[in-house]
């Protein structure tokens, strides 16, 4: 049986968890002091050895990403934290920054030192006022304590950190769109290569990491790569925050080793809400193909979820019971992608637009089986042909729902309407 492993969430129940005093009482900023006894490359090596893979969805090895920075460059190098958490279902970084912003700040300092950057940015989505206040204050406190600024703790190392608020655009979670946004432009993705490691922010070598990835660095430095790698699976090492939401008895944040299963997590969360059963779920946000109750025992690690036909993504487990219309769910996600498509490339801009038009009609029962083939055809023209992963993500719910719930689409067409009562799916309407 897998058990929970609170590390980043460990102090969230302390009343002052978000203050420097509260964080240090629990051992905070010890890793920073240890980091300054190490050479930067030793830290990079430790992160590589730990097996930490990006916690923002793609799962790219963090240490390897750091290793791609050229050894020298005429331009300054930057660390940029992607705190633009907006993927539907994903809700881990926001509570993390609200309750424990100093673990992020400590991670930023150690990571910047490791990659020899003297200027870091935390790009937080703009729609979370109190989270922004907490991170702003944590950075202020770090300056006051001499953890930021010139000659940090007598190490001779200098670092400035800027907290930057976004302004409402899902696409800015895509790392190169985030850079354009941070440079003061519309947030549209850039052509790669060059990758940000070579030419990123202001053309300088840049590392962009997710909040949870950076926040995991202090624990790796403090306790060692082996300690981190002792959790998780062979290729998906360490712990991660699993976010359960929807039709579950106790939705919330569960920090566990990668490789835990939904069956285990549901057991911890009191199961699907009383009197109902699991119908479908997302393993890692709306951009990951949906699963059903057949996938309850898939280990939630990068390899196993991939082998089962989806992606681990951000461990955003959105649980839907049998009262939920899958067509309605997919319609709403399609509307989301159409709303958030930046418009730069045709497959995504036009494809998501047509998804939305068609899904509206189909959900209303005005469709035929041929429309499903058209949807799959549109999907073929988006997937792999879009400029960035937003378009690819838009195809996931459409294609996976047709694959798993074709009959439910057909039932809409037979009846000429949606066969479900949306009132039964609500928080207050679930009682049988």
């Amino acid at each position: 049986m897998t058990t929970l492993t609170p590390v980043l969430t460990r102090n969230w129940d302390q009343a002052d968890s978000f203050t420097r005093a509260g964080y240090e009482r629990e051992g905070g900023y010890r890793a920073l002091r240890k980091a300054f006894t190490m050479a930067p490359d030793e830290i990079v090596q430790a992160v590589k050895d730990s097996g930490l893979r990006g916690r923002g969805g793609a799962g790219f090895p963090t240490g390897m990403k750091w290793g791609f920075l050229p050894p020298s460059s005429p331009n300054p190098r930057y660390l940029v934290v992607n705190a633009d958490e907006s993927e539907p279902g994903t809700c881990k970084d926001i509570p993390l920054m609200l309750a424990n912003p100093h673990v992020l700040v400590e991670g930023v300092i150690i990571s910047s030192y490791a990659i020899r950057s003297n200027h870091a940015f935390i790009y937080i989505r703009g729609e979370v006022l109190h989270v922004i206040r907490r991170v702003q204050r944590a950075v202020e406190e770090a300056y006051e304590a001499g953890y930021l600024g010139k000659d940090i703790l007598g190490s001779g190392y200098d670092l400035d950190v800027v907290v930057h608020s976004g302004a409402g655009a899902y696409i800015c979670g895509e790392e190169t769109a985030l850079l354009d946004s941070l440079e003061g432009f519309r947030g549209q993705p850039r052509l790669k290569p060059p990758f940000p490691a070579v030419a990123g922010l202001y053309g300088g070598p840049t590392v962009i990491n997710n909040v949870e990835s950076i926040s995991s660095v202090p624990s790796i430095v403090e306790h060692g790569a082996d300690w981190f790698a002792s959790m998780g699976t062979e290729k998906s090492q360490g712990y991660g925050i699993f976010s359960l939401s929807g039709h579950v008895t106790k939705p919330g944040q569960y920090e566990a080793p990668l490789g835990i299963t939904l069956r285990e997590l549901l057991d911890m969360a009191g199961g699907v809400r009383a009197g109902h059963r699991l119908k479908f779920w997302t393993p890692g946000g709306s951009s990951t193909p949906i699963f059903t109750d057949e996938h309850l025992d898939v280990p939630l690690d990068f390899e196993s979820v991939g082998a089962a036909g989806s992606m681990l993504g951000t461990r955003a487990l959105q649980i839907f019971d049998e009262t939920t219309c899958v067509v309605r769910a997919v319609l709403r996600w399609s509307e989301f992608y159409a709303h958030e498509s930046c418009g730069k490339c045709t497959p995504c801009r036009e494809g998501t637009y047509w998804y939305k038009q068609m899904m509206k009609r189909l959900e209303a029962g005005q469709g035929t089986e041929e429309d499903l083939e058209t949807l799959l055809d549109i999907s073929d023209n988006i997937l792999g042909r879009s400029f960035c992963a937003l378009g690819d993500g838009a195809t996931s719910p459409v294609v996976s729902s047709i694959k798993l719930f074709r009959d439910e689409y057909l039932r809409h067409f037979e009846l000429g309407r949606c066969p479900f009562d949306p009132a039964k799916s609500t928080l207050w309407g679930g009682a049988k």
């Binding site: 539907p88 053309g203 976010s243 106790k250 944040q253 996600w333 709303h339 958030e340 609500t426």
Partner: protein
């Protein structure tokens, strides 16, 4: 219409501070748009021209950016901007019903304000609080586990001028304009207010405490910290001066319309 001299003076002072945070001035544009919105309540022609003049770019370039982002409003919003998440999970958990009842209750729709200027509504995309679904936001503060009744009472209380506290946020709501100023990077000193975490955020931790589950205990014999590495040992590449513009050729991502 242009800004009154004292407003203009304050804007210039604030803009200068914002620009000073970044290696290149153009990076200041998003915070500056939050700044002018904190004065005008939405993005006005004056605000656009102020940003353009200050940064040495055209009003069209500023407009192009401001219209890309959904938080910059093109018309006046209410003193309390009320968002209802209608992305899939919240919608299914009741967000759709909340939205329907709230629009009927207030008589306004998406990105519209009530005539008294107190309340405006918005259909939100996912706001990263799915474990608290259905979620609403007021001036970008969290209101968790909402129902249609709670939503209507919330709006009525705000219209009646009652103090309202978010579920996870400051002790009381600030105004729409005050919120925009924080987003521009000017803290309001309220970070210490409110809970560290909502009940849902703590569920895993509480269960772990109850059952005695922890992360593996680290090796107790681990080395203690030594003296910090000296400055001379970190030489490659040379540290840059934050805040200084970076010269050189045009690099990827440094100009508009680069996808030709």
């Amino acid at each position: 219409m242009t800004y009154e001299p004292e407003v203009r003076e304050r804007l210039e002072r604030d803009a200068k501070e914002i620009i000073g945070r970044y290696p290149r001035p153009r990076s200041a544009l998003l915070p500056m748009l939050h700044l002018v919105q904190s004065v005008d309540g939405h993005i006005t022609q004056d605000g656009i021209e102020f940003c353009a003049e200050t940064l040495g770019i055209t009003p069209a370039q500023v407009t192009g950016v401001s219209t890309f982002y959904s938080q910059y409003k093109r018309a006046p919003m209410g003193e309390f901007h009320v968002g209802v998440c209608t992305n899939t999970l919240c919608a299914i958990m009741g967000g759709d019903q909340i939205w329907d009842e709230l629009t009927a209750h207030t008589g306004v729709g998406h990105d519209e304000a009530m005539p008294d200027g107190k309340i405006s509504l918005e259909r939100l995309e996912c706001n990263a609080a799915c474990d608290f679904a259905p979620v609403m936001m007021v001036n970008w503060e969290f209101f968790d586990n909402m129902t249609p009744e709670k939503a209507k009472r919330l709006v009525d209380d705000l219209r009646a001028g009652k103090d309202v506290a978010p579920s996870r946020g400051a002790g009381s709501l600030c105004s729409w304009k005050q919120a925009a100023r924080v987003l521009a990077g000017f803290p309001d000193g309220r970070a210490h207010e409110g809970v560290p975490a909502g009940p849902e955020s703590l569920r895993g931790l509480e269960l772990a405490r109850e059952r005695g589950w922890t992360a593996p205990s680290p090796d107790e014999d681990r080395e203690q910290p030594h003296e910090p590495v000296g400055a001379g040992e970190i030489t490659d590449p040379p540290p840059n001066e934050p805040g200084e513009p970076i010269g050189g050729d045009v690099k990827p991502g440094s100009q508009e319309g680069r996808n030709q």
